[in-house]
Symmetry: C2
Subunit: 240 residues, 2 copies
Amino acid sequence: MLSDSLRALVFDVFGTCTDWRGSVIRACQAVGMAKGLNNVDWPTLADEWRRDGYIRGIARIRAGETPYVGSDVLFRRKLDELLPKYGVNGLSEPEIADLAHAWRRLDPWPDTVPGLHRLKSRYVIATLSNGSFATLTQMAKRAGMPWDCIISTELRQTFKPEREAYLLAPRLLELDPDQVMLVAAHESDLKGAQAAGLHTALVPRPLEWGPGGLQPPPPDPSFDFVAQDFGHLATQLGIS
Amino acid sequence: MLSDSLRALVFDVFGTCTDWRGSVIRACQAVGMAKGLNNVDWPTLADEWRRDGYIRGIARIRAGETPYVGSDVLFRRKLDELLPKYGVNGLSEPEIADLAHAWRRLDPWPDTVPGLHRLKSRYVIATLSNGSFATLTQMAKRAGMPWDCIISTELRQTFKPEREAYLLAPRLLELDPDQVMLVAAHESDLKGAQAAGLHTALVPRPLEWGPGGLQPPPPDPSFDFVAQDFGHLATQLGIS
């Protein structure tokens, strides 16, 4: 049975484990309150920060259009563009640096931490994220996500969905790819893992882009598991 | 105060966190019992395994005498030499592979896990070990050592006490070297950390080489802390 042959579960983090959007909006609003900025469209800024700064930033590096930089640099560069564009002025350098680190202070979805504890009782659990090693470590500590280890694609200066990024997990853990399962909310991520020989569990996060936001497509039937949340995944794996 | 400016504590593992010698001897004795081998000097084998296989194996690689291999390979190669030398015959390949993994099943010193929990309440805690990433991850999971992240010198194909090995910790955690402190039982390790700009805490482990074994020298006065165990270190850092 697959649940018996698996040894490690690796997780996408932004979106899958954490509510990046709600968390980043709250961090932005706190800055807005402190600075008396009343008319900033923070939700749109947050969406653009994620979509243009991170997702497209990574796509451009993968396409060879821009040289490799880590995701922390992508976040910071985009923020430097977005602040004037959205009329956010007067922030000091330490304030901007701290706001860029909002991505280190993401709140988990309600099921994340209890679900991870259950899954950890049987499997090695690790991040497998394009977030930086430092970002993932700080985020886990603050949120109480009980990873056995942090794996960041930064360790090989690559990004998911490159094949090498997925193979990093079995290589570092000295496992075969089919002893490892990626848990993720995003189909493209899971398809990349499949192509590298990993197993896959889809946990859709319909609130990732906010209430009324972009909805996930119907689950691809090729994924090994489809679960409503991490607790449901643990139950499907036979963990009480 | 130093305790306020520190952000992360990184730990030597073999010897400092775990009783490698007692653990390896017990693993060997279990094999001896199962195989009906009554006259094997397992303690001497364990000491030679550590000293000649690991410590000298690393020294030879650092000196450029042999090409880089990870520490798991060093352990396995030495075991293949030691088994016939000590009259241990008739083990199958899976049994030898499992015995080589005795280094993944080391028991912590009695103060290690409760001490780490206290230290973790204020600082990022991480391994900084020449053990492989997989070895350190498996060992922590079995022993309940609550690392925030696993840092292995294998990530850069280097070994402590190379300068680069110590700088790996602040680089991955995005900290300055002087925001990081190495906790170790071995003076040479702490001197290497000092040379790279890290702070240092000595926790001597007089039982590392067994009762009546090699004793640690008097503490070098240049270390920032000298503690009897991890709990004592937490107390010195003002953690209740």
